[in-house]
Symmetry: C2
Subunit: 245 residues, 2 copies
């Protein structure tokens, strides 16, 4: 049955405007045609990170292709959280989870950073981007977080924008409680930095402590896995930070 | 090399006291002997939820068995968070993740509840208990959260202890911001209730709104998966609730 309420929400790169036509990527066409078994006229919500959210309908389909006709705007583009997540690459399962949950929790940019104790040797940015897109489609965001190529932590620090606070998840117990750190933020330009499973090296923590834009935060007495720490800090930021207050 | 700092932390049921002997379960013996390749004298930290954390050493081992000699107390038993998580059973991957992260985030008891829109038909409590034990071992807790058998939501509500606040993660947008809800709590007897992927039925939300001990909380504008909502609320509770303040 074709109704007016989209059951599917898709991210596309195309410009969205009344009467535009959008050809879906093969994987999206597959989800629409074969997983959702969509018939012509099926409504789909589209967003591209720039033009808001639009109602479109399935117009034509081939075996691996689908074209949608854009009808009308559902929601205008709106400002979203300007929070970055800096993370040391960890194993595949946990890093995938971290990217999915960070997207749900409104992160604007994902910045992998190599640290002294980082075990992982490689990071598949294409996979992380695909995970971020699917999570953004599912959670109703109007953007997909930017996925940046990995840099060394020192390089990220050296090029740091001075007006953005860097909240370091410091497992040494010397940080201030995360609630205190977050309630002291005055604007939404912030970043959260989470280390690898092995933690930060003492020299890294020393270097971070010397930076005017950095502040060390403590997540409590339990030893959290890296991805848990990231997710917990992001959840607290959305509840307590400038965007959530 | 055998040093004094335990690389492994294990939960056991036995009483822990100086000179006690503890025979490990086969799976734990396997981890100690074959994964960690422990030699006699290997230090292990033990906890049982009652007697604090103790240093023990590998004394004797067979092919699938290991006996530890308990030496001295590392940490006395201490009060931990008295927070419950009530959750509608969801798919295996997400429910496993929720239990692992809830344990890391200090939940005292896991209460599965069947709701109107719960899809999952079964719940393997033994598996959830094993996940909770491993997460407790890893995160340094002195307890393992209690895993209760599933009940209907109505039954859990009918038998509810009146002095325990029930924080309902209400995705309808009618709850107060979670930070507001948490900062109004006066003691640590609380529970967080998260619904299934399909959300609560309107009749369930109506019934919950009529309860003096229940309060509806909102996690922000994005649509969070059930396990993300649970993890986010627990992280906020630990940062903002009576235990974290």
């Amino acid at each position: 049955m074709v109704t007016g309420v989209p059951r599917l929400r898709l991210f596309v790169e195309d410009t969205l405007a009344t009467d535009a036509r959008v050809a879906l990527a093969p994987e999206q066409a597959h989800r629409l045609l074969h997983v959702r078994r969509a018939a012509p006229g099926e409504p789909v919500a589209l967003f591209n990170g720039r033009d808001g959210e639009w109602l479109a309908r399935l117009e034509a389909s081939g075996k691996r292709s689908a074209t949608l006709a854009v009808e009308s705007m559902l929601r205008p583009q709106a400002a979203e959280s300007d929070l970055w997540l800096l993370f040391a690459p960890i194993k595949r399962g946990p890093v995938d989870l971290m990217v999915e949950k960070a997207t749900e929790l409104g992160v604007a940019a994902l910045h992998p950073v190599w640290t002294r104790h980082t075990d992982a040797q490689r990071l598949n940015l294409d996979r992380l981007r695909a995970i971020a897109i699917e999570a953004a489609e599912q959670c109703g965001r109007l953007t997909v977080p930017a996925t940046h190529p990995p840099r060394k932590l020192e390089e990220a620090i050296a090029e740091w924008p001075a007006d953005r606070r860097l909240i370091v998840l410091d497992e040494s117990g010397r940080g201030a409680p995360i609630a205190t750190v977050l309630s002291s933020l005055t604007d939404d330009r912030a970043a959260i930095l989470v280390g690898p499973e092995g933690g930060f090296a003492e020299s890294e923590l020393d270097a971070l402590r010397g930076l005017a834009f950095a502040v060390a935060a403590d997540l409590g007495p339990r030893i959290l896995r890296a991805e848990t720490a990231a997710i917990a800090a992001l959840a607290c930021y959305q509840a307590l930070g400038p965007g959530g207050r």
